[in-house]
Symmetry: D2
Subunit: 462 residues, 4 copies
């Protein structure tokens, strides 16, 4: 097939620079499996509906299968002249079956064909990503369980705030990545729709059976409006948005791993196998993996912004601009999977420096809130208790001491409600233990959360 | 309350320029209803749990109610010194109830308070938006029904492609805005979560009853991890992403209304009451409303990008950067609601110029595909038929005729399979009628789609 | 003036919801000074060109002056019905001068009028911003000078890398903000262009004198193509891009101020007057100002994205979408100025903890590169020296020592090229002093850089 | 070189998944020319400064030259294990010159090396782009000149507004792309800076001569602060912003080419060689090239947003996140050049349908403004004249006539100032001719603008 399938009315050949400019084959060739899957289902349907013969359908399906194997074996030549994956497969099929290949294109258009391909692809990838998210959450939960009682400072404004369990902190990420999985699953409903049979934009005059291809391709349902079906890229935008939110979570976790790996925090050590050194500074051990994950947040946001921009103000139905949807999609899928895979490997190998964490939680007046709470238990209104604890902090700061290092006398200068029982009250362990409100950091809360997570992750559906 | 509630340890007063820079009251004062609602529920819970007395709770709730009424009557003074809505309410309450106001802040922090406020607000707003989307879809369906049989050219690449029914084209937008409603509804699940009781980040030491406030505030469930609860802004990002996709739809519809209002298309006329004129060109009637809607797409995309950027790489838990979440959120809610409201009013008043549409569908060889289909019914393979029809188009273009204006003899020079029956085959009505594949543009398909939509929209839940 | 100036051909009144939706007065009223300035220059020109009489011009200019003063005194009523600032001023002028006000609109349109207003406004604001940047750089240089010899660890990957002078680190920001000033100045060339006289889009039939208004309004030159002049918003996009890059610098500096204020780094202390406390945790001193600056990066990026989106694919010339340019512009101007102003105040009040910084620079093997360099001076190729120093670090890590705490014997196990002279070689001071390549951290380099900066900043033009 | 150059202190090998995740070689290999150029200059400098011998320098430079030729001949193996282009070149050099290759890395780091490479690359590319912009503007000017007197409707709000010359409309794009060239040239000043010698971040202890490499590499100047030099990516962000603005222009021009190619406008015809057809609709001739250009706007905006996100809030100096700068940069360079190249080819081949354009300009009351202007010449104030013309339009609309088709009697019902001389006044030619204000559409203005553009484009510098 040297001639373009649409060359009929054209008196001039396509300029080769135009072929290069408009070709998408280097990008969309990865859709070959889905293109062939879609075409095979279409062929079966055409036969079932009596539009082509069973023999023709069988020949087409066999030919498509051969092409698939050729591509898999690297024996297939890709060429900008043939624009996209659909034309490549069709051209190869025409060489194999010069008489009947053309019949495959009955009752469909590239517009619905590419929509089918991308939906099949994305459905598969989202399922993979949900699977990866499950594995990653398992890793998080395992790390939380292994460090159930490790105490660290909880931060707000990057200032030490109150002591928390490391496991509680980790379980915050479990919550985030669980929401991501949910969000991808919700979006999947809008991916899992069969557009095949919408043809160019208006439907087709052939007596096709869309229920049949829907079933064959394992789609949950079929599209209800042909114009919408070929001009809809919502499902990709929604995926990119969910991926962007997931990357926000990755960027936050990465930021913390980087901070914690610094000499100043020194809360963790990354495994040698997951860090790199410096070509000039022999002592360096750089947290390259979290840095790169944090950096990759940019490309995913950029991909989302790219597609939103592309789709803005396009009139219905298909416009060639929409060809530009694939690179942001593929790049996001690849990035997200790579970040998940490397994190699944890296996280279990992190060395937690529990002593350093606990030591940090001892400093910085993390028990100031509890001193206020103590005063409330003695009858002071909260705001007054807060002010009183604030003054004690100011005093202690001046002496270079922590609150629990003050003497009872010193303490009592701030409130004579304070007694000996204040000291046990202000230990890290007691402070953690007391925060037993639902969702709080008390050990038994976290243990229960871990158990619940383990249960959720062991279920098939999740 | 002249002194900051946290002033205890500070030896220097806040610089007034800092007060102005950090204050959010001009933005977040709109949360006053939700702030007071959240505080009232908190007060009731504190009493139920025995943390404060029933009398105190009653006084607090009454005081809060008075403040709400003062704000509603415009009798409340907002002041940058008091930072945010929470401090304003608390300060006013302290003036009313100097002895007990402070007790309200027991077992909570501004971090969980603001999270509650925004979630209550957004939940309400999303429900409103879903309601608006329902009204708007009703308007679309009504317009489709009123123009059920109007024929227009369907476009791809902004080139006339095949005739379609205007009603079918409109129903494509019905599909888009239905998906928007679904997407908002899915996101709502992740908004409808009660963070109250997470306190600053670690939970609280008081024996609070989170189930009770959850129920009082009509939340579907409560958050499971206190650190996550105060640092999570996913639900806003997800809303902004759904709003961005919805604005893509609005921008596409606007683009078409603008095109259709041009002298060149002249498919519709906007009502005088929804257009504006020119101060210099007396003849102008400008489609300002759709133009502005299309333009407002920019601000919603920008708001999404703003929040993604804000959240990128923030360590847990709360950081002050997160205060910047409200303007993009509020602006998006306002923009989306305004676009919906004005569209609900405008769309029914559009004058459809059915004749012009039909006339346009007669030109531009929209029956070329059908000529190819005709040849397929006579036994030619599709690709060959396509080439043959392409040549006929080329010939007709040269003569300045449409395909149906060629004589039978002329026709037969392209294929002798062509007979007299080709002419009735190529009428607009027949072309439309034949596209009866599910989702195709045939009249009875569209009628069924309209009916199904009416049914869906009449149900309470949708 | 109750009737719209363009109402001639309209048979129906504008819907009030449309007035509210399309009105921009709440946003663009801040342009009143520039609108009046532009109108006054226009009136003068019309008289000079003999299009109106001198008396009419004088009356118009006086009337405009009165309106300006009314607005300044808060005695002017703004109303959505009158769409925008241009209509407000015109309407007020018509009340004052019912006979001649209408003449002012000769030979211009709102399209060139709004372009003039925004250009006058932005030119003024950019000059202010460049001035602020100069003040801010002065503050940076002063802080560098005051801490010229303070040693801190330089970081890459947030890992301690090599010792540097704090002053050198600060001067890196001087470079960034200097580039920002340059970039704003370059962009200013494309703002400083007079579009007045382009009328609606095609120029005007009146014998206007554009050189005169250009001169009167102090524009550097006038636009060369009327269609471009009314549809160009490049100068705003370019400003938003320059502002975004400037905010990147602010976000990086803020990140460091936040890190350095943490207990873990403890390199600086923010002044009490520029930090806030916690309503629940009495010990907290939060770096709210840098956090908010960092957060505001999001809104500026969002504003840029908003305008790019708005302008994408708009056909020439003016489209109403372009009305949406003002909010992102104004918000960016306000944000940038606020960040500069607060930083100019805050930075001088930061307490530098020089001892902590130096102590941090002692730890973490920051002299490893220098040990390698030492070995190179003894004849080892760099890569081998690097490997050797790396092994020494590994060994020292194992013993819990720093390199300079190893004995000479221990040292010599890694290379027998090492002698006693290694120890003075590895002191912080020597390491800094040796880095005297141009742009390096050696004290005399930094002192020279500070002096050069002072000189540059003292010049009128910069 | 099997071992990592920084492996000294590591006890564990890099995980292969980490190598794949962190490797950038597939992206940055295109920098090989610049990497080798930079290294050669560095070698020459090291010899000049007496840090290495002349013989070593000669050997290094020869070895680098060989590697360059191997890469050019496709005989070079790229491998993820070797991370990036710098390591690849170094590794190959070590195989050639095992004894002396290591010396090349004296007094530099990958941090300044990559900065040099990217700056050399981008400088070259910006110069190419400026050249392309010049060629493209030549093409625009030529098309304007060839269609100097063609009349078309000028549009605002996509409504016909006033007649303009097509050449005037085209020259608006000349202005836009001229500003782009200026903007790129301004940005170039901030690219053309030599960072070499900044080493890892603090400068180097070797007596290097940065002026020498600056001169050798033809940089305009050298960086002044080593920390800034290795952490600065402003010049890339600025380039991406300028490219985004340029793509806004491309998207606007594309939108118009698409509109004008539609059956409804039919103002132009794209050459067959630059359009594509439909696989299902034989009559289609799709403006794929402008559609794709418009679509590619999205990826460039996305790239800008990606890099802004990446750089947000990174502490100084180098962080691995910054490796992610290259893909958005390279993709933007490639996209912009491709859009320019294809447009330079396509634009001259567009067929202008002058008759259709003129015919369109006859319809839609484009002379309404001029009727108002006519009345002003007869003494009516502008606003009154505008109202009067508006009523005439309303009346003519009702009769289905244009203004110039009304009889004098009809005309005079709107104002008895109207005389016979109104009819010649309202012809297209006169309307154009009268708009002779500077920058207006009068023929002699446009001819002058064309001549000025030709002159500007013929100068070497522009």
């Amino acid at each position: 097939m040297k001639e373009k399938p649409w060359a009929g009315r054209f008196s001039e050949k396509t300029d080769t620079s135009v072929e290069a400019f408009t070709s998408s084959i280097q990008v969309d060739k990865r859709l070959y499996v889905h293109d062939i899957e879609g075409s095979s289902a279409h062929a079966r349907m055409l036969a079932k509906a009596g539009i082509i013969t069973d023999d023709d359908a069988a020949a087409l399906i066999q030919g498509l299968g051969e092409i698939k194997r050729e591509i898999e074996r690297g024996k297939f030549v890709f060429d900008d002249k043939l624009e996209d994956i659909h034309m490549h497969v069709e051209s190869a099929l025409t060489q194999k079956l010069p008489k009947i290949a053309a019949k495959l294109h009955t009752a469909r258009s590239r517009n619905d064909q590419v929509a089918v391909d991308v939906r099949l692809y994305l459905k598969e990838q989202i399922q993979l990503i949900i699977g990866h998210l499950k594995s990653f959450r398992r890793v998080i939960v395992k790390l939380a369980k292994a460090n159930l009682e490790v105490i660290m400072p909880g931060y707000t404004h990057l200032q030490r705030a109150q002591p928390v369990l490391l496991s509680h902190h980790l379980m915050a990420y479990y919550e985030m990545f669980s929401r991501d999985a949910e969000r991808f699953k919700d979006g999947l409903k809008r991916v899992d729709v069969n557009p095949l049979g919408s043809a160019a934009l208006a439907g087709t005059t052939y007596p096709i059976e869309r229920e049949f291809t829907t079933e064959q391709l394992h789609f949950a349902r079929m599209s209800g409006n042909s114009i919408d079906a070929v001009s809809d890229r919502d499902f990709i935008m929604e995926f990119l948005a969910a991926a962007s939110i997931c990357m926000v979570h990755f960027s936050r976790m990465s930021e913390e791993l980087i901070l914690w790996s610094s000499s100043e925090f020194a809360f963790i050590e990354l495994p040698d196998a997951f860090a790199t050194g410096s070509s000039i500074m022999p002592q360096k051990k750089n947290p390259d993996v979290p840095e790169l994950i944090r950096g990759k947040t940019g490309r995913v946001f950029g991909n989302l912004m790219a597609l939103l921009t592309i789709m803005k103000a396009l009139p219905l139905a298909y416009n060639r601009d929409m060809q530009e949807d694939k690179e942001p999609l593929f790049d996001t899928v690849d990035t997200l999977k790579a970040c998940l895979e490397i994190s699944i490997k890296m996280l279990p190998k992190i060395t937690v420096k529990a002593e350093r964490m606990a030591q940090a939680a001892q400093g910085g007046f993390l028990n100031a809130t509890d001193l206020a709470d103590y005063l409330v238990t003695k009858g002071l209104p909260f705001r007054d208790a807060h002010g009183c604890a604030g003054k004690a902090v100011g005093y202690a700061l001046g002496c270079g001491k922590e609150l629990h290092e003050l003497s009872l006398e010193e303490m009592r200068t701030f409130s004579n409600l304070i007694g000996e029982d204040v000291f046990p009250f202000l230990t890290l362990e007691k402070m953690i233990e007391r925060r037993k409100s639902h969702g709080g950091t008390a050990g038994r809360n976290v243990a229960a959360a871990v158990k619940a997570a383990e249960k959720a992750l062991s279920e098939t559906e999740s």
